[in-house]
């Protein structure tokens, strides 16, 4: 599945776009944990970001399908 990172998160992960194999039954929080295991520095951003699934804000408990597009979004600062 496609996973996107924006703003400062992109710099922490070292890329804006990642493709990952989803473990069956994964929720958004599991996907994020997968990235933390690759990039431990991400853990400290957990409480100051939100996730989206298919262009809608989504709770951490949201179940995922392999065709979903998930993004991790830092606090927004448009305008």
């Amino acid at each position: 599945m496609k996973v996107l990172f924006f703003g400062g998160l992109k710099e922490v992960v070292g890329g804006a776009e990642e493709f990952v194999e989803l473990k069956p039954g994964s929720r958004i929080e599991d996907l994020f944990a997968q990235f933390i295991s690759r990039c431990p520095e991400l853990a400290r951003f957990r409480s100051s970001l939100v996730a989206s699934r298919n262009q809608e804000f989504a709770a951490w408990s949201t179940p995922l399908d392999s065709g979903d597009e998930v993004a991790f979004l830092p606090p927004v600062s448009g305008g």
Binding site: L4, F6, G7, G8, R27, S48, L49, V50, A51, S52, Q55, E56, F57, A58, A59, S61, T62, P63, A71, L73, P74, P75, V76, S77, G78, G79
Partner: protein, 157 residues
């Protein structure tokens, strides 16, 4: 939420054409057009800003901007709304966001325009990086409201 075909919802990489947007909301039935022009300030928390760089999750930003437009139609007695945000590098004084709202009467246009910019700043996935003489930082932002644990509740009911 319903889409109003006469509304303009745009993400642009060049200058925002404010007069075209104002023209796009103007009809014979309107008695007021209220606009908001958000522009790049020359300082942030006392540090001199050189320029800003905006990025967006473009597909989602457009979804959220369309939702804001639909929402202002349901909340306020307005006619049309135009909502544009610029991305990329912006110099001091340039317009980063422009909103125009037309309505038969001014109160609704003022309220809808205020609501649209406040909601955009809180819920549209756009970020700005501020460049100073001695470095750059991602601007402090707002964490958008997220539906909490709806899936847990669904499975419990």
């Amino acid at each position: 939420m319903s889409i109003h075909p006469s509304d303009s919802i745009l993400l642009v990489h060049e200058s925002i054409d404010a007069s075209a947007l104002v023209g796009s909301v103007r009809t014979g039935g309107d008695g007021a057009i209220v606009t908001f022009d958000g522009c790049v300030r020359n300082q942030s928390h006392g540090r001199r800003t050189l320029y800003l760089d905006y990025e967006a999750y473009e597909s989602m930003a457009l979804v959220k901007m369309r939702e804001i437009a639909a929402e202002v139609h349901t909340k306020f007695q307005i006619d049309r709304v135009a909502l544009a945000h610029r991305l990329g590098r912006l110099e001091i004084g340039e317009t980063s966001v422009f909103i125009a709202v037309s309505a038969p009467h001014r109160a609704a246009a003022f309220e809808a325009c205020r609501y649209a910019i406040d909601t955009l700043k809180r819920s549209v996935p756009i970020w700005k990086k501020e460049y100073f003489e001695d470095g750059a930082v991602w601007a402090d932002g707002e964490l958008p409201p997220v539906p909490q644990d709806t899936h847990t509740r669904k499975s419990a009911s």
